[in-house]
């Protein structure tokens, strides 16, 4: 197991380095330059030149990249061009926000998705199955912004029961924070519910049709016990995969939700950094998401192997 983890971490570091190169050079292809992004399109050319010199963006690309990565490996994330402030604290705060929102969404959607999947699987082909599955699949295609606005209009303005802004007041406790995150989490729940429900349903259907389920039934195990002991574990496995692969989306891909609910997550931070060509911020942000994504898939693999005896006993390939 340890060897497996080390190998994964090593590969991960190489992937991250390649990612940093791609981000750096891809960002150069975008039009505009950081100084002009700060000073606006109508700034005097001399002002743009002066700021480019201050920022160091008038240096050759290779020099800029070396300057950045040689500091990065020592833990110095650099100074944001845009905000003229250290990248580290801005990024950590935004990442914290993103993780909180993702957690609230997960806590709501995972039990719902699994229960929905199991209920559908237990009545395959019946109206209950159809209703749950059609709802789940339809919900996955509703853009977050559309469901978000509908939610705001109903719960935020008409009924006035949930806060419109996801940003809680300074110093708010965990309860207040969650209260502010319920509404922004629902669009994510709607999108993810269909995936998780379908995976859980397929896993359950497969497990129900398996030899061991039949054996359990034949040896006289009550249906409830049979499902809890033998089927649920199998329906959980694909769910873990879905959750792990959606981490990138949930942490870094929520720009529109963050804009709508005015929440300062890492998605918005990276989006702003990309449009402003704020290179230190962009690099650090993308790498952080890369790291989170890798950690998530690594943890998912470990949990997967713990839940699935076939992988656990076979060990590392």
């Amino acid at each position: 197991m340890l060897g497996f983890i080390l190998k994964r971490v090593g590969l991960g570091l190489i992937t991250l380095w390649i990612l940093s190169l791609i981000v750096f050079f891809a960002a150069q292809v975008l039009p505009g330059d950081p100084a002009r992004a700060i000073l606006g399109p109508l700034a005097a050319p001399s002002a743009v030149a002066a700021l480019s010199h201050q920022l160091g963006t008038d240096q050759p690309l290779a020099t800029q990249y070396w300057h950045w990565i040689s500091h990065f490996v020592t833990g110095d994330l650099g100074t944001s061009y845009q905000y003229q402030a250290p990248v580290g604290p801005l990024l950590v705060k935004a990442l914290g926000h993103s993780l909180k929102l993702a957690s609230v969404a997960f806590v709501i959607v995972v039990p719902l998705g699994i229960i929905g999947g199991v209920i559908a699987a237990l009545s395959v082909g019946k109206p209950v199955d159809r209703i749950i599955s059609v709802f789940g699949l339809s919900a996955t295609v509703i853009p977050e912004v559309v469901s978000g606005i509908v939610l705001i209009l109903i719960f935020g303005i008409a009924l006035n029961v949930l806060p419109i802004s996801a940003t809680w007041p300074p110093g708010a406790g965990i309860g207040t924070q969650v209260y502010h995150l319920i509404m922004p989490a629902i669009p994510l729940v709607l999108i993810l519910f269909g995936y998780i429900q379908q995976m859980a349903r397929a896993g359950t259907v497969e497990a129900l049709a398996s030899d061991y389920a039949r054996t359990a039934t034949l040896k006289g195990l009550p249906r409830g016990v049979m499902i809890r002991r033998h089927v649920l574990r199998n329906s959980l496995l694909p769910t873990i995969t879905v959750i792990a692969t959606q981490t990138g989306y949930l942490i870094g891909g929520l720009v529109l939700v963050e804009v709508l609910f005015n929440y300062q997550g890492i998605g918005r931070l990276i989006y702003n950094a990309a449009t402003a060509k704020d290179f230190p911020m962009l690099e650090a942000g993308v790498l952080v998401i890369g790291i989170v994504y890798m950690l998530a898939t690594l943890i998912a693999d470990i949990i997967y192997s713990l839940l699935n005896p076939r992988i656990r006993y076979r060990g590392v390939e």
């Binding site: 975008l30 039009p31 505009g32 330059d33 100084a35 002009r36 992004a37 700060i38 000073l39 606006g40 399109p41 109508l42 700034a43 005097a44 050319p45 001399s46 002002a47 743009v48 002066a50 700021l51 201050q54 845009q82 905000y83 003229q84 402030a85 801005l90 606005i149 705001i152 935020g156 303005i157 006035n160 806060p163 419109i164 802004s165 940003t167 300074p170 963050e258 804009v259 709508l260 609910f261 005015n262 300062q264 918005r268 931070l269 702003n272 449009t275 402003a276």
Partner: protein, 568 residues
């Protein structure tokens, strides 16, 4: 007008030649009382003096709209202000560090104006230039040297007194071509660092590179980078302290999230009504409107009609409308066929239904343009020049005369910004009525502006180009950069020595009569040549809940809150 000559003569004897000229114009009825107050303010006549002169000229309500000199006064306050409380406002998130030198975006300049103050304040609600950190100013006879008397007893928020040294430092930094200063687009060719001279601790003189009759606007809130900061300030670190002379002091500033300010009890104009203000930063307009409707904020500092129908069509909110020179400019390459022929350019301009555009694209929140930068809000605009109206028959006739009886095809390049793509669509549809086929190319702003220099920018290089210009207090920048032969933003590639000469005269003119006369010539020349089309000027819009009073927004999306309060 019942004039009292004896009283007037007594006043006249102490006045400068220019001031006496204005008094002549007023007595002769060539200047209205309102115009007199506005022009008087520009050349530095005090409010009291203006009032005395108007009284001598029989004006019954001389002080009604001449605001007191207590800084950022407001016009919408009524009744007895409620003291205390926190006002919550929504603004566009500052796009970059709040650095007085580099700020270029609406969110950032709104932040500057919370603690920073200017020598003069361009009150957009009253359409009047008012004293702020300077109590008065006077031009030399030709308008090449302007001397500002500073307000005594003003302190920065760290307790140090403001003196001429601070003012000199501020403007030398802003005008230094070696600095990344956004004010350079205003000061280049007007003011260089050596021209800023301390006369004594309470007086600063600006020696200009060329005479400029509207110079006070360039050191007013209009030139939003020009807040006065303490001598020796490190501009990059300013956002940590927000040190200024204004009615509020920084409490907290969190990038991308928001900022809060507390009342400055030592403010020279008296402590503000509010205890504090809290700004929340937003990435787009829609969440701001939802936040106002849901009660999360009390004020949306700036918005555009598109997407704001729910506010504009509701009676539950107070909408503050400001006349502004904010406009869209359609340029046609004067050096590229088919637009080398002025008749073709005129034909395009004649195809447009301007009132229809204002009502369809702006929900009526705008004024029609007459293809010159002279917006209705500028006092110098010559209103005797006839307004261009839609005339399809004449447009077709002009095209035929230019050899395009069967029309032609061309491309219009523009940016993804506010209502501009829809405006491009409307222009293209109008052109089909005179047989011209316009293909649209709508780009992101980065792609469109490019490097913003000739040869590296679709904005400046495209055959037809449609761009946005924000508000200014005087039309000088609009007249120079996009239209003079050497202008850096001349997307029309318009080169006309007569025009260049007229603009030079206009900029140098100190008195309004001369300005209006030259403006008339410029307006006529631009209608004849039509290098650009300006279909409309867009109003600035601010929304508040009904309990908010006394806020003073500007059309460059700053807001002044000294007199603001929330009624119970």
């Amino acid at each position: 007008m019942a004039t009292d000559p004896r009283r007037l003569d007594a006043i006249r004897s102490d006045r400068s030649e220019l001031e006496n000229h204005y008094i002549d114009e007023l007595v002769a009825g060539r200047l209205s009382r309102r115009q007199f107050m506005r022009r008087g303010a520009v050349i530095g006549m005090s409010t009291g003096l203006v009032g005395t002169i108007l009284a001598a000229c029989g004006s019954a309500n001389s002080s009604s709209s001449a605001s007191s000199s207590s800084g950022a006064a407001s016009s919408s306050a009524s009744g007895t202000p409620t003291k205390g409380g926190t006002l919550k406002l929504a603004i566009q998130a500052p796009a970059a560090a709040v650095n007085p030198l580099t700020v270029a975006d609406s969110g950032g300049l709104c932040m500057l104006a919370q603690t920073g103050e200017f020598l003069a304040f361009d009150n957009n609600l009253a359409l009047q230039l008012q004293p702020m950190l300077a109590t008065s100013w006077t031009p030399s006879k030709a308008g090449a040297v302007w001397t500002f008397t500073l307000r005594p007893g003003v302190k920065f928020s760290d307790g140090t007194p403001m003196t001429a040294d601070d003012v000199v430092y501020t403007f030398q930094q802003l005008a230094d071509p070696k600095n990344a200063s956004n004010a350079l687009s205003t000061f280049t060719g007007v003011l260089d660092p050596a021209g800023v001279v301390k006369v004594d601790s309470g007086t600063v003189a600006f020696h200009l590179s060329a005479p400029n009759g509207n110079f006070p606007y360039l050191v007013s809130s209009d030139n939003y980078n020009a807040i006065i900061v303490p001598n020796g300030t490190n501009f990059a670190d300013w956002q940590k302290t927000f040190i200024g002379t204004g009615p509020f002091k920084l409490s907290t500033y969190t990038q991308n999230v928001g900022a809060s300010f507390v009342a400055n009890p030592d403010y020279w104009g008296g402590a503000p009504n509010l205890d504090s203000t809290a700004f929340t930063f937003y990435a787009s307009q829609q969440p701001q409107i939802l936040a106002l409707q849901g009660g999360t904020v009390d004020v949306v500092v700036q918005f555009v009609p598109t997407g704001a129908e729910s506010l504009l069509n509701s009676s539950s909110y107070t909408i503050i409308k400001l006349k502004s020179a904010n406009h869209r400019e359609l340029s046609m390459r004067n050096d590229q066929a088919p637009f080398t022929d002025a008749r073709v350019r005129q034909a395009i301009a004649l195809s447009l239904d301007r009132p229809g555009m204002v009502s369809a694209l702006l929900d009526g929140y705008g004024e029609v343009g007459n293809d010159s930068p002279f917006a209705p809000k500028f006092p110098s605009t010559n209103t005797s020049v006839p307004q261009r109206v839609q005339d399809l028959a004449k447009a077709k006739q002009l095209l035929a005369a230019a050899g395009h009886a069967n029309g032609f095809s061309t491309t219009l390049t523009t940016e993804q910004y506010e209502e501009i793509p829809e405006l491009a669509q409307v222009i293209a549809e109008a052109a089909t009525k005179i047989g011209v086929k316009i293909t649209l190319k709508v780009e992101t702003q980065d792609n469109y502006y490019g490097k913003a220099t000739y040869g590296n920018s679709d904005w400046l290089d495209a055959t037809m180009s449609l761009v946005d210009y924000g508000d200014r207090g005087v039309p000088n920048v609009f007249l120079e950069a996009p239209l003079t032969s050497n202008g850096p933003w001349n997307a029309a590639h318009f080169k006309n020595p007569t025009y260049d000469n007229l603009v030079k005269q206009y900029v140098a003119a100190v008195d309004l009569q001369t300005q209006q006369t030259i403006a008339g010539k410029i307006q006529t020349l631009l209608l004849d040549e039509t290098p650009i089309v300006i279909p409309y000027f867009i109003n600035g819009l601010t929304a508040t809940t009904p309990s908010v009073h006394g806020v003073n927004p500007t059309s460059i999306s700053a807001i002044y809150l000294k007199d603001a309060y929330k009624s119970a």
